[in-house]
């Protein structure tokens, strides 16, 4: 009965061998934020907002073209609408998380 190892603490090296790769990985902007500590994250947020806005504006253009009968296929317009809805939802989620964290900090008792 000595073939089976007892259940117990797994050595750390063995544990890291079981999960060799970090699936999530460090955030992409970490390196950039490290070099530029003034506004890495806010820059990211601003960029994301600009991209969402760009998509919405492109949607407006293609909807105008659809309304004037200038467009070739409807599915392109619908897919663009879906893309912008997705990016808008992502933006809303990021905003929700940010506000939540902000309010948590503001409610903190000092």
């Amino acid at each position: 009965m000595s073939g089976i190892e007892p259940i117990g603490g797994v050595p750390l090296q063995q544990l890291s061998g079981m999960f060799p790769t970090d699936e999530v990985g460090p955030p992409l902007a970490a390196a950039a934020a490290g070099t530029d500590p003034t506004g890495g994250f806010s820059q990211l947020v601003t960029q994301g907002l600009a991209q969402v806005n760009e998509k919405l504006l492109a949607n407006q253009t293609s909807l105008q073209r659809l309304a004037t009968g200038d467009t070739q296929n409807v599915h392109q317009v619908m897919i663009q609408l879906e893309e912008s809805r997705l990016s808008f939802q992502l933006m809303m989620q990021v905003r929700g998380r940010l506000l939540e964290a902000y309010q948590d900090i503001m409610k903190m008792q000092i």
Partner: protein
């Protein structure tokens, strides 16, 4: 992989099916048109779709969604090469010297079947796109208070 490239793949499929529907509609619409003897009349058309080169999809997946444009099936519209149907109508103003009028040899059954097939394939593309969208929306639910 970015969801937008998955959308682009579905959009390419939808464009192809749309072209098939358009070509079938054109064939049906021209089924009973004719042309003066000696002049080329309407020839039935068909859509020839060519798949993207093998391995392009795997390359795109591995490279992290570089471009979905190279995956799009290339299609072109070409004449089906079906000989015209000759109908004996001596009184027809466009009949030839022997009284024959040439009509394009459009097979209504073939066109209807390709219409149906294109419709179903289009629906399948829409379903694939909706699934991609559902995945993306579900991913946004991670950590939500529900």
């Amino acid at each position: 992989m970015d969801t937008n490239s998955t959308f682009a793949i579905s959009a390419a499929g939808m464009a192809l099916e749309r072209a098939r529907v358009e070509v079938a509609a054109l064939n049906i619409a021209n089924a009973h048109t004719t042309q003066a003897a000696g002049q080329p009349g309407f020839a039935p058309l068909r859509v020839v779709a060519q798949a993207a080169p093998a391995g392009a999809f795997a390359a795109m997946l591995e490279s992290g969604g570089a471009s979905a444009a190279m995956l799009a099936p290339e299609f072109r519209v070409e004449a089906a090469g079906i000989a015209p149907r000759l109908v004996h109508e001596p009184g027809h103003p466009l009949a030839d010297a022997h009284g024959f009028v040439s009509y394009p040899n459009v097979d209504p059954a073939t066109e209807m079947v390709s219409l149906l097939g294109a419709t179903r394939a289009y629906e399948a593309n829409v379903a694939a796109m909706n699934t991609t969208r559902t995945l993306a929306m579900k991913a946004l639910d991670i950590g939500g208070q529900t």
